[in-house]
Amino acid sequence: MTTLKVNGHEHQIDAEPDTPLLYVLRDDLKLNAAKFGCGLGQCGACTVIVDGKAVLSCVTPLMLLEGKQVTTLEGLGTVSEPAPIQRAFMEEQSAQCGYCIAGMMMRAQALLQRNPKASDEQIRTELAPHLCRCGTHMRILRAVRRAARLMDTAELLPADQRSAP
């Protein structure tokens, strides 16, 4: 048994210690957002945040995560109460198939938590590990820039004014 904190909740995980976090999230905890894309750490679709840092969950074994805080896209917000990054991706319509998007959003979230004033160059550099095949890159960049602006102002607004349009 490994104790894992995911989205603020503590879970006892009955999985072999070499199980990659991705399978724990999807198979044991029934979370959808982190996606299997390659299992090789090459595409970024599985990205989640561990203790504030973007991590490729497909190559991060459970044994390294005892006591750490894992955040997935589900932990940021909901359709009715989206986090700024989620609201930004909705407002910019930044998806086609959307399979890569959850991973992109988590890395962008980690970046903006660290540096809310990230430049376009820094955003591009940060997203370098991520692949998108539909060619939605322009919109993804726009959404991350919008999220940065929303994060600057979102906390000032009451919750009922923070919902998506």
Binding site: A15, E16, T19, P20, Y23, R26, D27, K30, L31, N32, A33, K35, F36, G37, C38, G39, L40, Q42, C43, A45, T72, L73, E74, L76, G77, T78, V79, P82, Q86, F89, M90, Q93, S94, A95, Q96, C97, G98, Y99, C100, I101, A102, M105, R124, T125, L127, A128, H130, L131, C132, R133, C134, G135, T136, H137, M138, R139, L141, A164, P165
Partner: protein
């Protein structure tokens, strides 16, 4: 194509009623109610209704209204990430006069929806969108007619609003009150009274996509996210290469591994089933290590695809011929262009869930064609097709025929061995890259002459290509069916008929040349597994034609945009070209900054779908050869626009994806194996090379037919970039991909 109506939609009692003389159908005399403002396709005697209503004519195949006024719209097409679900909902809401959010759309499902074949070829708007639009308009007219009868008022005085028919005196009958059990079980009329586009409130608006909220919050959005009660996980151990045979496999140790439910071996089909996903992954690796294969060195030499293709046996046919002996060329040039095998490269490897219960096989799949896939799976399982149900659930974007159908077949084959248990099959990254059917390699040879005025006097175009569709088809198109002990043979490839074509898609020039000769060399032998990839042969043919147009413009000393306009009569095409050039700031005497170049290209997809022109600016690092698309400006005419943001998203995506194909991508292989099996061996675009800006200008054509737009950008983007590289470097590159190495070599040559 003769597509049968889905029998499941008809209750036997209904069918008997219909068979009894068709009184129910003809009793709805709509002749007066439907004005003649929507041109149906010409037919000699009985004009047929437009779009997919031709093949699935009953209105209730498309629209259901329940007594509580809830409305469901059915489409036989898939949502693949193009945004159709939203666009179809807009169309139906508009023509039915109901709020957008008040209806829901059900996508391809062999039990519920019409058979619309494949979701491919940029056909969804013109087939399904048109059917839904006309079915909705005719449904609305039936509801108005029913209200007129009940209220004893003339139909002309009634209006519809917010899901109800409203009389001038304010009386209101909701659609749910008006609808009777069989009211919509009537065949569509050939013509509909469609709304005046000037009154549109929902169509033409950038309505946010209905699928995006779930996708950005971790909702269940994909077949990969399905978790049925009692579901088990399966992994396949594929052969190491085409035709490899399983010579030995001692699975006893694997069977004892934790969580393993079953090892399945059927000829060369090898799979393992487990209760937990990662335990199954580990078992797959152990099973792969336990398997010995006899491999065959059957693949061609990769380093000379052009010679390989032109040496294969060919079925050659002249597909276009025009002759004007009075016009003679003075200066002649020729060139040859090649394209390698390329991968769809879906970010999510293929996945499917299947369950055999009570003799019925249900398959949840991201196939592009639930009906053809059902047919193929049923054939493989020796089951009647009526006992197989295929339900489309979104997967990762596919861009054509990827591993989706094969994963569906894998899941069905394994589920048959575990009756009652839902089985989820997830391909690995390496399997998707190695086993997906690739976009075929192609070669084109062009030769043309200019007359004394610098106009093209004669044009010769030859293309060598495999077919561009090995979709099922039949069971023989499915990997699992090819690998089992009693295998199904791969069917022969067939050229896809013109005017849409396959390898010859867009091979016939849209320009007016006095002399033209176009030959298609169809290659039946397929050394690599190939099938449909977004835009089929149009990608390479447009790349070739539009590159060569620039070479000819250069020979004529003409501006590339003016040169194209000089040869193009089609007014909509001309407007698209002018719009893109204007948006880009294209000038006849323009000169790009150092190490940068400007390029232009244009095509009308299939010469019958959307028009697209793209101007681009590319920078080339002369030291390394590294190219980058800096900005692109596109103009597109897709007929009546339903969702402008959705259309813009498609064109932006097409440019970026085509740029990746064009600059980076080729499948690699040795004599027996595919060697490009992940993102390191098959590199694609990363964020460091993403353009600074892409602008898309839409030319809306209110009331005109929907033109497919999902693939129209692929060819022009490639040629526009190639032309910009030539403009930047002074060197013409004719062999895809236009890699850093090839550019560097050209600069240094």
């Amino acid at each position: 194509m003769n597509v049968p109506m889905n029998p499941d939609r008809l209750q036997p009692s209904r069918r008997q009623v219909l068979a009894g003389g068709g009184a129910l159908i003809v009793s709805f005399s709509l002749t007066d109610a439907f004005a003649q403002d929507q041109a149906a396709p010409a037919a000699a005697s009985a004009p047929s209704p437009p779009g997919s209503l031709k093949t699935s004519p009953y209105l209730d195949s498309w629209i259901r209204i329940d007594a509580d006024s809830s409305i469901t719209v059915f489409t036989g097409k898939d949502e693949l990430g193009q945004g159709f679900k939203t666009a179809f909902q807009q169309i139906a809401a508009e023509e039915l006069d109901v709020p957008f959010a008040s209806l829901k759309v059900v996508t391809a499902d062999t039990k519920l929806t019409a058979n619309e074949g494949y979701t491919s070829g940029s056909h969804s708007m013109q087939d399904s969108g048109t059917a839904i639009q006309n079915a909705a308009a005719q449904t609305r007219a039936l509801l108005v007619a029913e209200a007129a009868k009940r209220l004893d008022l003339p139909a002309e005085g009634l209006k519809t609003e917010n899901g109800a028919v409203i009389a001038p005196d304010g009386r209101r009958l909701s659609y749910g009150e008006l609808v009777a059990s069989d009211m919509l079980h009537v065949q569509a009329q050939a013509k509909s009274t469609l709304k005046d586009p000037a009154t549109f409130r929902i169509m033409g608006q950038p309505v946010p996509r209905v699928d995006i909220p779930a996708k950005v919050t971790g909702g269940a959005a994909y077949v990969q996210d399905m978790r049925l009660p009692g579901m088990v996980h399966a992994r396949i151990v594929r052969p190491p290469g085409y035709g490899a045979e399983l010579s030995a496999c001692d699975a006893s140790a694997v069977e004892k591994m934790p969580g393993v439910v079953k090892v399945i071996r059927d000829g060369n089909f090898l799979a393992v089933v487990g209760s937990k996903e990662f335990q199954t992954v580990k078992a797959m690796k152990a099973l792969a290590a336990a398997a010995s294969w006899k491999e065959h060195a059957s693949l061609p030499k990769q380093n000379d695809l052009a010679a390989m293709l032109t040496s294969l046996p060919a079925q050659s046919s002249t597909i276009f011929e025009r002759s004007d002996p009075a016009v003679r060329g003075e200066r002649t040039i020729e060139a040859s262009y090649t394209r390698p095998y390329q991968s769809h490269g879906s970010i999510g490897p293929s996945c499917a869930v299947a369950q055999l219960a009570d003799g019925l096989m249900t398959v949840w799949t991201h196939t592009q064609g639930v009906y053809p896939d059902r047919q193929a799976i049923a054939e493989m399982l020796h089951m009647p097709a009526s006992n197989v149900r295929c339900i489309h659930v979104e997967g990762s974007g596919c861009y054509g025929h990827n591993g989706a159908d094969d994963a569906a077949a894998d899941a069905a084959l394994i589920a048959r061995a575990l009756p009652g248990t839902p089985v989820r099959v997830q391909w690995t990254r390496e399997q998707e890259h190695a086993w997906e059917p690739f976009g075929p390699a192609m070669i084109t040879k062009l030769k043309a002459s200019l007359d004394g005025d610098g106009k093209i006097a004669d044009w010769n175009f030859e293309v060598w290509s495999n077919t561009h569709s090995m979709r099922p088809g039949g069971a023989g198109c499915l990997l699992a069916a090819q690998h089992i002990a009693q295998p199904f043979a791969v069917p022969p490839g067939k050229p896809l008929p013109l005017p849409e074509g396959g390898g010859d898609r867009n091979a016939i020039p849209i320009y007016s040349f006095p002399n033209a000769h176009v030959v298609h060399h169809f290659l039946p032998d397929m050394p690599l597994r190939i099938s449909a990839m977004r835009s089929l042969g149009a990608y390479h043919n447009v790349f070739s034609i539009e590159s060569f147009m620039d070479e000819l413009a250069s020979l004529a000393g003409a501006d590339p945009v003016e040169f194209r306009l000089k040869h193009l009569d089609d007014p909509r095409g001309r407007e698209v070209i002018e719009k893109a050039a204007q948006g880009f700031g294209w000038r006849r005497d323009q000169k790009a900054p150092p190490d940068r170049g400007y390029g232009f290209a244009f095509a009308r997809y299939k010469n019958l779908a959307a028009y697209c022109a793209i101007a681009s600016e590319v920078e080339v690092n002369r030291e390394t050869g590294r190219p980058r698309l800096v900005r692109a400006v596109a103009a597109v005419d897709s007929g009546q626009v339903v969702n402008p943001d959705g259309l813009t998203n498609q064109i932006e995506g097409a440019i970026v994806q085509s740029m990746s194909w064009t600059l980076y991508e080729s499948v690699t292989f040795d004599e027996s194996r595919i060697t490009s099996i992940d993102w390191q061996t098959y590199p694609i675009l990363r964020f460091d090379a993403v353009p600074d800006q892409i602008d898309v200008h839409i030319i809306n054509r209110p009331g005109k037919p929907f033109l497919g737009s999902g693939e129209t950008g692929q060819g022009p983007a490639a040629a526009s970039i190639a032309n910009a590289i030539a403009n930047a470097t002074g060197k013409r590159l004719r062999h895809l991909p236009l890699t850093r190495r090839r550019i560097k070599d050209a600069i240094d040559a």
